[in-house]
Symmetry: C2
Subunit: 339 residues, 2 copies
DNA sequence: TTGTAAGCGTTATCAT
DNA sequence: ATGATAACGCTTACAA
């Protein structure tokens, strides 16, 4: 394990020159630069991270906190997100520091101990205290999602409002009027946006939303099953359902199959699809019609934004919204005639 | 953002004393210790991580690399594992550094740049090159799994052999003789161990394993569906199946439901269950009989071992094997009579 | 183009 | 019990 001093001595150069050569400064002679790099490789020199961090004030790492240990429900979306994020960072040899959530204290700790250069913040709530605090501390961060339409911080989000508007329209164009919405809890901004999209189409067509068909809860397989059970038992199953997560849809499908209800014929489904690699909506027994936006891409984009941010990009350059793609497959069909 | 020098000046003490007070050295007067701590809190002093790392040579972080970006299949097990791991580390304010995998180079980089104090290594293969290299570098690591029965490095594993022996016995005791094994690929040691457990029970009972009923592939929902389809189409469906993953079982179940085959009556299933929070085997339409061993606990245990290791525990203290629990639920029943 | 030397903010050693 | 002061290994003015 050789250090800069030793490498410099070995080369009969000063530490400064060697350092500059390794960091590709333009002022250093290209011949010596080559010589330095070769020697460094030959001797297996690797800069000590802590020393570099101390000297530059940059850590070369970004922080993220593992969401929701509170309800013990680990979100399967998170791995895909992490995969995208780390792959974008790896391009520049940047790392990701992962911490278990102890609430807002974790964010504070990560920011104040200068373990990381910036944070990524997932699943923002309305008026999220983490955002307020980070903003007050003037610590850089990027939000996956938004707290309102046009916030004054860096974020990456999908157009949830538009996605669910499109999905609702599609169903209505197929003749559906009774459409259940299986959504996430209403404290998450994305769920609110989706609900608004859904409602607005009803409004535009002079129809009224039936609140008995709107569900806001944790987006688990179990809940999908439970909600459809409830609807069937109460004899209130609508002709179509709109799901905020493929997991919910999975559970709903299981219930439909148990009841002998054929998806795409007896009932139509549009689901949001985060493109999870472990849950492919195209491989469902009845391939799903979805609003699709891979969460892995979101991770990747946020990784790139993190890099841009550390290079000094302004807030306005760090605000992105992408559209979800409406993919029509076999789970949607014309509304059955009223019996 | 105050530093040690400023804090020391503010207290009319030397940096050394303040540092010692903050690090709870016994040699420092308890009155001044209290005074220092109070001032530190009042002024919001936080030690600079890089500086401390440089001085101590310890990073206070452990590394892990996100598996298998190669096949784009993100393992949902990984989040649960991470949750356990980070929660154990958080107790001591330790962090986890996550890197995207660029093959073995990633491990090398993490080790040589001294970004972390130790690595955790997942999904070991037979004669894994990562292990060989880390061992040669003398860099500390803990393996989740094993490369052989009694290796000479730190590891945490479950007794896969015993688990699948138990499962196979259970099925045979119920009268099953044709038992399919839906396993992971045979380059993973856990899959080999499970296969051995399965085979040995056949051997002990004087029966012979039918190789047409043994499948070794990626443990995805799709593969579970596909394999059962294949069996049904070839009219070779056995009376029982043994699955290495709840995901495989999920897919198998979907195929059974499509075919109107009733699990627990027409066919028996025993699945391994890693206790994923997003996939609860007790909530399947037919609650599953499983060999259970929560992967979250594995993460937690490895987190504790990482801490022990950095405190100087010996290799022999860092080798743990736990048993999976056989939980009998409704997916297993007596073998149907031969038609 | 290269070298000298001063940080960066801690902890550790050695006196006192 | 406390204080000087020297590491730790790098980057970066400033000089040459």
């Amino acid at each position: 394990m050789i250090n800069l001093k030793q490498l410099a001595k070995h080369l009969n150069l000063s530490q400064a020159t060697v350092s500059r050569a390794l960091n590709n400064y333009s002022t250093v002679n290209s011949a010596t630069k080559a010589r330095v790099i070769e020697a460094a490789n030959a001797l297996g020199y690797r800069a000590n991270t802590s020393a570099r961090q101390l000297a530059t004030g940059k850590t070369g790492a970004f922080g993220i906190v593992l969401p929701a240990a509170d309800n013990l429900l680990m979100d399967p979306h998170f791995v895909d997100f992490l995969a995208g994020l780390t792959s974008a960072l790896a391009v520049n040899d940047l790392d990701l520091v992962l911490s278990a959530s102890d609430g807002i204290a974790t964010y504070r700790r990560l920011a104040t101990t200068r373990k990381v250069d910036a944070l990524v913040l997932s699943a923002p709530k309305l008026d999220d205290p983490r955002i307020r605090e980070l903003l007050a501390m003037n610590f850089p961060f990027i939000v996956h999602g938004r707290t309102d339409r046009k916030p004054d911080y860096a974020y990456f989000d999908i157009d949830n409002y538009k996605a669910f508007k499109d999905a609702t329209r599609l169903l209505m164009d197929l003749g559906h009027q009774e459409i259940a919405l299986l959504n996430g809890t209403q404290d998450s901004v994305f769920a609110i946006d989706r609900y608004r999209g859904y409602c607005d189409v009803f409004g535009q067509r002079g129809l009224v939303v039936n609140p008995e068909l709107v569900f806001a809860d944790a987006m688990t397989e179990e809940n999908g099953y439970r909600i459809i059970s409830q609807l069937i038992d109460a004899n209130k199953l609508p002709t179509a359902i709109l799901c905020s997560s493929a997991l919910l849809t999975l559970g709903a499908n299981r219930r439909f199959r148990d009841a002998g209800i054929v998806v795409g014929r007896d009932v139509s489904i549009v689901s949001h699809d985060d493109g999870l690699s472990s849950l492919k909506t195209e491989n469902f027994s009845v391939p799903l019609t979805v609003t699709r936006s891979p969460i892995r891409i979101a991770g990747q984009e946020i990784g790139k934004m993190l890099i841009e941010q550390s290079r000094g990009a302004s807030i306005s350059e760090l605000q992105k919204v992408v559209q979800a793609e409406l993919v029509v497959r076999a789970s949607t069909g014309a509304a059955p005639r009223k019996k």
